[in-house]
Amino acid sequence: MTTFKYLVLLFAIGAIAACETGNTLSDDGKALPILGERDYENGDTIYHKVPDFSFVNQDSNIVNNETFKDKIYVVDFFFTSCPTICPKVKQQMLRVHDRFKSNDKVYLLSHSIDTKRDTVAKLKKYASALDVKSDKWHFVTGDKDQIYDMADNYFIAAQEDPEAPEGFDHSGRLILVDKDRHIRAFCEGTDPESVDKFMLDIDKLLNE
């Protein structure tokens, strides 16, 4: 009988282990770092800062640095006709949106890299289909060079590439920006576990 017990236990453990993803999250309690290159001037450290920008959102309103004054925000880059990673990233952005829905310190900012085709009307339709509003989540378009320049500043790869599906190549990274325009955390927007950890980073930043 004992052998049977062990076999049963072994089977149960095996079944659990076989399908476990094996990635546990750790919260080391340390403050979030400030990411990016830093300069030293007169003995003081200058951190990488998000530069001035100005775009138009799904409701035709201007979105700029002032929009996020004293707030923290999560950034990504996408385009509405993207056949590859975008819907997955948007699914994860939605998780962030839902989790911080009632926290008025947290905003989301999605940039279209297909500035020619993604008109304000298209962005509006896209945002409505996700059932989100611009008082929380901005979908912006604007000057193409400025959008790509901002991608560089957020350390997100984005480029036009005729060889890539629908003509654009970009990464699905999410970036967390603090109220001083510093970049404090990032994650892979296609990977739910990476986003789990990212949301803990947002909690941490909110507690600073």
């Binding site: 236990l9 095996g14 659990i16 076989a18 399908c19 590859t84 699914q91 339709k125 289909a129 996700l130």
Partner: protein, 131 residues
């Protein structure tokens, strides 16, 4: 003794639910490669941006059009399970007739769907007639 049976039952349930194998492994692989980025692994789509394939009445009601949708896409307002959708889906022209056949059999039977199977000859007849 009783609690070991519970462990056993738990093991069986976890084994079945998380490691379920499909009758259509080729179709599943192609689905994951070409469709899951939008329709998601669980076939549930995304809000009203991407319609579901899981438990979708559309699959049953429009079974004659499915091969052409995969090859040429779909750019018209549609209704799936009573919900309106209107974002374009681009076609995926580099999938062969056989790939499309595999994918169709997978989505017709995945996620609790029970919409039968389709033969290659039927898929090819549909593809001949695409508008």
């Amino acid at each position: 003794m009783n609690k070991y049976y519970i462990f056993f039952a738990l093991g069986v349930i976890m084994y079945i639910s998380s490691c379920q194998t499909t009758r259509f492994p080729q179709g599943e692989a192609a689905y994951l490669a070409y469709c899951a980025s939008c329709h998601m692994e669980d076939g549930k789509g995304l809000k009203t941006l991407i319609p579901p394939l899981a438990q979708a009445d559309y699959l049953q009601k429009n079974s004659e059009d499915l091969a052409c949708i995969i090859r040429n896409g779909l750019r018209a307002p549609i209704v799936v399970n009573g919900q309106a959708y209107d974002q374009p889906m681009a076609g995926i022209p580099n999938l062969s007739d056989v790939d499309i056949n595999n994918i169709l059999n997978y989505i017709k039977n995945a996620w609790g769907n029970d919409y039968g199977t389709i033969k290659l000859s039927e898929v090819q007849a549909q593809l001949e007639g695409c508008k």
